[in-house]
Amino acid sequence: MIEVINISKSFGGEKILKDISTTFDKGKTNLIIGQSGSGKTVLMKCCIGLFDVDEGKVDFDGRCFSGLKEKKKKETRKEMGVLFQGGALFDSYTVEENVMFPLNMFTKMSFEEKLERVNDVLNHVKLPNANLKFPAELSGGMVKRVAIARAIAMNPKYLFCDEPNSGLDPKTAEVIDELISELTEKFQMTTVINTHDMNSVLQIGQKIAFINKGELWWEGDNKEILVTDNKELNDFVFSTELTRRIKQRL
């Protein structure tokens, strides 16, 4: 479980996160939703330690992470997998080398063992024959799947995904959602997903935190979100004519 406790973060005098407290549960897909500029990416980057928080703290299974020095953060970081918005695959490496990268850096496995692990995770993300391709040769959905494979190569306890569906068609986005949800359940990871994709919210949102103007506005799950009377959340979730009609029929 990840606990976010009263964190605040400012940039250039402007407060982006205001006293946010929430928890992300183990074995669940925890979603952070909100409009662009609401602070959800900053919240995620505070959680993974790319930004230092100004106030408050982030605990990973009771271990304080945010206050640690860079050297000590390393140990917790080895338990994290992160899927970045654009995939962040290393361009000059093949798919196999990308996925093998954390294993090369942090394990003493033989090449055969590492290759077996790489093939295993590539099978999990349903890319069994892509080992020798370069990122430039992959489609957007494949890039995301390779990035997920790299993120789970070290058997992480915590998986963070920043906008995993951005730039993908609805069908591929659904495949990615299902994949993340399936892996979360299978490996009992604490998964945190940053999204504004309503399909993801309704499909895999086992726990949802709605951030608005840097504040935590609402928490619940994908069933509660359909019946909430929170105005700001309703304005965000049912912002189109189509979604408003769907809500009326519910």
């Binding site: 790319l50 080895k78 992160v82 970045f84 918005q85 962040a88 361009d91 942090f106």
Partner: protein, 246 residues
Amino acid sequence: MGFLREAGDYVLIMIETFRRPDKGKVFRRQLFIDFQALGVDSIGIVVFISLFIGGIIAMQMAYNIDNPLVPLYLVGYTTKQMMVLEISPTIMSLILAGKVGSSIASEIGTMRVTEQIDALKVMGINPANYLILPKITAAMLFFPLLIVFSISVGLAGGLLAVFITGSVTTTDFIDGLQAWWQPFDIFYSLIKSVVFAFIIASISGFKGYTVKGGSVEVGRASTKAVVASSILIIIFDLILTQMLLT
């Protein structure tokens, strides 16, 4: 203030860079990749420019020495001294700042804007150490070899030019190359090349590492890397000349 802040950031990033690599085997692999990218791939341009500059210096010297009292072997001697003391270490470094410096800055800058550096960091890897240290090491080890290569090719270019034009006999030219030979000159040249290699790789790595924004900023960082490296090369050329030759 902006300059001071940037200088401070440079020092902080260099402190991060010069830490023990996370894994020696991975560092060595990266080092060999950078030997290829920064060193071996630069041999062509170094050979081409050195050959022609050597030839041009020899021809200009021969053209300027028309006094019968001045011995013709001075053409070879002057060509050698210019290639060893200034042209190969400094001019080649300025050219390498353009080729290698822009390549380092744009490579690392692109990694920054595509979140690859963030990906390294969240994996628990020191990105500055992983990305910049092998480049600095490769440049500092390989550039002296390139400079020796440049000197040799430049002198061969001079010999070829006097042979083709007939302005000086090849015997006179070779006599000049052998005259007043001081091994310290080569040492001075190598010292300069090592310092310039550090300047090029570290400044370009820093400029790329600190890119903020998108592709336009990567281009700007690349240009700034070349300009800053070139200015520092010239300044340190003066300082090293003062320290080592006077």
